[in-house]
């Protein structure tokens, strides 16, 4: 496979983790501008695990996902009382706090004679596990795709067991949901933990592919993009945020000649889509229609 295509697909895959993470919270009724923080925790955590502590890769990924879940839940617990703009800005504040803290976070150890580890604003390089073990880019793409598929399958399973519907109820109307017997706080924190885990997993995968991460990469813009993908692609299904990523990065690639104007085109496209379909392309009513049709 063309190495360029592999690189593009890998990017799409990695961003999809971030987009799914934001989407899950949107379903639960919260806008988070801060999922990039858990992506960062996964990237730094996973990177430190392999590069500094010499952990095996799968364990490092698990560690990154776990960090994302833990921190996500920790932030969501006090923030759950908030909603709307307050929640959005609180998550933005936490994410920026994370980024600003990473700018002064130094943790370097001697590994095989080299000083390895995060060096504040200078970044964190030499996350070389993938290259040292000689994994080909194509294989890594398969890994990204496989894990992404696993996440989507987990979400589909949750849908099957009515878990997703309950989360949607909490998202649409927490008071009414409470009246149906749902423990709203538990759902909000649970969704935040799951979203944090997904973002953390993506972050760990990202760090090992890029081999170098720095705090500036986990910016507000990244976070707002993540939310936008779900809103554009559609809130009705987990495939929505992925569609959003495809549209953005796919557009970038197909408009190579117009690369300089990509954001202008993408921005205009998004604004138009949202006028026609305020809940995204694959919105709830479309998904309901498809389901009804499939039932026949």
């Amino acid at each position: 496979m063309d190495p360029f295509l592999i690189s593009v697909l890998s990017n799409i895959g990695l961003f999809s983790f971030l987009a799914l993470s934001a989407w899950l919270l949107l379903i639960g009724g919260e806008i988070s501008f801060g999922q990039q923080a858990y992506f960062a925790f996964g990237a730094y955590g996973g990177g430190i695990a392999t590069a500094v502590w010499g952990w095996p890769f799968p364990l490092a990924l698990l560690w990154g996902a776990g960090l994302g879940a833990g921190v996500g839940a920790l932030v969501a617990w006090p923030a759950a009382r908030l909603s709307g703009v307050h929640y959005a800005i609180a998550t933005l504040a936490f994410a920026e706090l994370t980024r600003a803290s990473l700018n002064i976070f130094r943790y370097q150890r001697d590994v095989d004679g080299y000083l390895t580890g995060p060096d504040g604003a200078n970044g964190f390089g030499d996350i070389r596990w993938v290259y040292e073990t000689g994994i080909a880019p194509g294989t890594y793409l398969a890994l990204i795709a496989g894990l992404l598929f696993a996440v989507i399958t987990a979400i589909a399973l949750a849908s099957r067991f009515n878990l997703l519907a309950q989360l949607r109820m909490v998202g649409e109307d927490p008071i009414l949901a409470g009246m149906q017997g749902l423990h709203v706080l538990r759902w909000k924190v649970g969704a935040a933990a799951a979203a944090g885990a997904i973002a953390g997993l993506g972050g760990g995968l990202y760090a090992h592919l890029a081999t170098y991460v720095e705090p500036a990469q986990f910016s507000v813009m990244t976070g707002v993009h993540a939310v936008a993908y779900g809103l554009i692609g559609g809130l009705g299904t987990a495939l929505g945020p992925i569609l959003g990523v495809l549209i953005d990065i796919g557009l970038l690639e197909s408009l190579r000649a117009l690369a300089a104007y990509r954001m202008i085109v993408f921005g205009g496209l998004v604004a138009l889509i949202l006028i026609l379909r305020p809940r995204g392309i694959l919105d709830e009513s479309l998904v309901a229609k498809v389901r009804a049709w499939a039932r026949r």
Partner: protein, 239 residues
């Protein structure tokens, strides 16, 4: 039987309920009447666990329920049909109904048969089973809300102003449904502005004025005209 004694609920500094006491007896329809702003919705939300009372007690069959959260109240069999936020608009009619039964989510067979019962009881909902609830008319949404509450197999049904915003002919339809539920022996606590309709179906009623219960009785034994006056206009001050 739900016993409410001296319940006080405030919004910040504003006292909405200033010591409400009433009994909701098993079986039959108990109605709470009163003018706007008397605190009727506040009382429903306090019982439902959405608002926290600052004082007083609420006991169902001797068990204390004051201070329990909304989902815990549901598990005690007290189910609310709220005013205004009737349905989950982005979910289908069927999904809305199933949502009502989440507190009994393990009882799959029971939920299926209850769903059948509700759709039979409300043929219009069966017609629109796959439609998004947000596209239903006001009366249909109210029916859906009642149906959803029934899915929880409630011991007590709390209904907050089901006639709100509905055309008179639809209001009659809704009350017929409520009447049928009462005839089946269910316990219903109905809060209503439309005192005339409420009195037609109530077995007993209470009058809430400015955060306190000022009057109680059964429709047969009181002068309906006087009750209606006070329910709509509030008690006239002497002098």
């Amino acid at each position: 039987m739900l016993k409410i004694r001296d319940v006080q609920t405030s919004y910040g500094k504003i006292a909405a309920l200033k010591g409400v006491s009433l009994d909701i007896e098993d079986g039959g329809l108990t109605s709470l009447l009163g003018p706007n702003g008397a605190g009727k919705t506040t009382l429903i939300w306090t019982i439902a666990g959405i608002l926290k009372a600052q004082a007083g007690s609420m006991k169902i069959n001797g068990e204390d329920i004051l201070g329990l959260k909304a989902h815990q109240i549901v598990s005690k069999g007290i189910v609310t049909v709220p005013e205004n936020r009737l349905v989950f608009p982005e979910m289908s009619v069927t999904d809305n109904l199933i949502a009502g039964a989440f507190s009994r989510h393990r009882d799959k067979g029971g939920i299926e048969s209850d769903l059948e019962d509700v759709l039979t009881r409300f043929p219009r909902l069966r017609e629109r089973a796959d439609q998004l609830a947000g596209t239903l008319s006001g009366g249909e949404q109210q029916m859906l809300a009642v149906g959803r509450a029934l899915m929880a197999r409630p011991k007590i049904l709390l209904m907050d102003e089901p006639s709100t915003g509905l055309a008179p002919i639809i209001v009659e339809e809704i009350f017929e449904i409520i009447g049928r539920l009462r005839d089946e022996g269910r316990t219903i606590f109905l809060v209503e502005q439309n005192a005339h309709m409420a009195l037609k179906y109530a077995d007993r009623f209470f009058l809430l004025e400015q955060g306190k219960v000022t009057f109680s009785g059964t429709p047969g034994e009181v002068d309906e005209k006087e009750v209606l006056e006070r329910a709509y206009l509030g008690a006239r001050k002497a002098g």
